[in-house]
Symmetry: C2
Subunit: 278 residues, 2 copies
């Protein structure tokens, strides 16, 4: 039943796809790990519906992830109505895959459920207004969502995270009827990839500058960035993208406030949605 | 080679362990999903070392998770020296499994690598000082870490996240030699569970109040919380924990500022470590 079966790349091939020339030492390996390494974000979907019960299976996987002190400060909303999908796509800067995919989820950092619990019990929860509690909620939402992604991909489905919902959290909240203390931290498209939309596995930075032993060490960074820029230039050329090197992409994405597309106002948006971030 | 083989619970058993009486509709199923549902956090480890290459395999899985705009704003540090382990355990409130486990990782929200890139290229990256960029980094660290957890568990290893490193981010940063713009967002113990330390799968809230269709809907929450409180009371009794219901645990954990154990000062700690959170 595993969607990976029959197309599991060898360990060497999987590591080469992910790291180019900078392949790390090999270690233990199995089909689950092969599936994790084979991930790619997909931005084109067929309209085919998902098998019955898929949503519930993905949510069960998501809820099985660790959650800080079992607080479970996250929720997820399905976006089904075309008008609501159109709002999500517009907020995200006209990403058409949000309209195409059979399942679009918005993951929420959600302290409102805990807040309602406190109110029902006549106890003000003093910890709720703090940045720490928002961060716990956002991290828990991410852990949950990543489990949903792993489950989806194991079933032969594709996904892509939509962080651009944070361009306008208030509009997302209004569209989904969110209570104060709940905010969409990202969306997730789920569905079957269109022919040609799956693309190559994207190379990542060499492990040598992401994994630090004992103490943080940036000495090897300039050389590693040069080699990774070359990997990403090749990947971009083969996959017809705009900017070429990693260096150019990082500068394009966070070089200017304008490139944040409204997310420079995230703190104010969160305040307005019931997160004082004290 | 998959550590789950031979002990895959049936779908019904897995859902019942996770949801008690509130079992959701069944859907597609495979060994990877069974592994996700079988997760439990483990707080007791044997000293046995991990097979060679395990760390590199976990990091390859982690780096294969999606990362916002491929910015890769996270890093991971191994904590190996006994003195450094002792600091981590102390910061986390004397959690002895941090001393026991053969591998202890600290996941960083890390914008310092992008910052060094900008400096080397003579370009100030205007987007770096914003709350949005810190949030991207924390979410990316969480997505990466969850992939590492899934990979570890697929190999028969156990894990537990250590959010309590946020009790004192400055001490963690000093111990690991972190540059400005890097902060430990959580730790992760990895190793083989001691006999008896694996415990039961912990029940979660019914899907009916975590999964919202079309719009957020909290109407069913009081009834769902009553039934979940009963599930958690049973779980606590069987596993000899202190507080009994979920309601009691939520109030204990975030009812008071004191219970945050210093994390009420997280915003100030982040400012001091190079995250203006603008």
């Amino acid at each position: 039943m595993d969607g990976m079966s029959g197309k599991i790349p060898t360990q060497q091939a999987a590591l080469a796809a992910r790291y180019g020339a900078a392949v790390p030492p090999t270690g233990p390996w199995n089909a689950t790990i092969a599936g994790l390494l084979d991930h790619r974000s997909v931005r084109g979907y067929r309209p085919d519906p998902l098998p019955p019960g898929t949503l519930e299976t993905l949510v069960a996987a998501a809820q099985s992830a660790a959650t800080s002190s079992n607080l479970q400060t996250w929720s997820v909303v399905t976006v089904e109505d075309p008008a609501a999908r159109a709002v999500m796509a517009e907020v995200a800067g006209a990403q058409k895959h949000i309209l195409e995919c059979p399942l679009f989820l918005v993951f929420l950092a959600d302290v409102s459920r805990n807040d309602r619990l406190g109110q029902a019990e006549g106890r003000a929860l003093e910890g709720l207004p703090f940045l720490e509690t928002f961060l716990v909620a956002a991290i828990d939402a991410a852990l949950a969502a990543q489990n949903a992604v792993v489950a989806a991909e194991s079933l032969g489905l594709s996904t892509v995270y939509i962080g651009a919902l944070r361009n306008d959290p208030a509009r997302v909240a209004e569209t989904l009827g969110l209570p104060p203390g709940a905010v969409g931290v990202f969306g997730l498209c789920v569905g079957y990839a269109k022919a040609g939309a799956e693309g190559e596995v994207k190379p990542r930075l060499p492990q040598s500058i992401v994994l630090h032993r004992r103490r943080y060490d940036a000495l090897g960074e300039p050389a590693a960035r040069t080699s990774y820029d070359a990997e990403m230039r090749g990947f971009s050329q083969r996959n017809e993208m705009a900017a070429d090197t990693w260096t150019a992409r990082v500068i394009a994405r966070i070089g200017t406030i304008r490139a944040l597309r409204g997310r420079d106002r995230l703190a104010a948006a969160l305040h307005a949605l019931g997160f004082p971030l004290r």
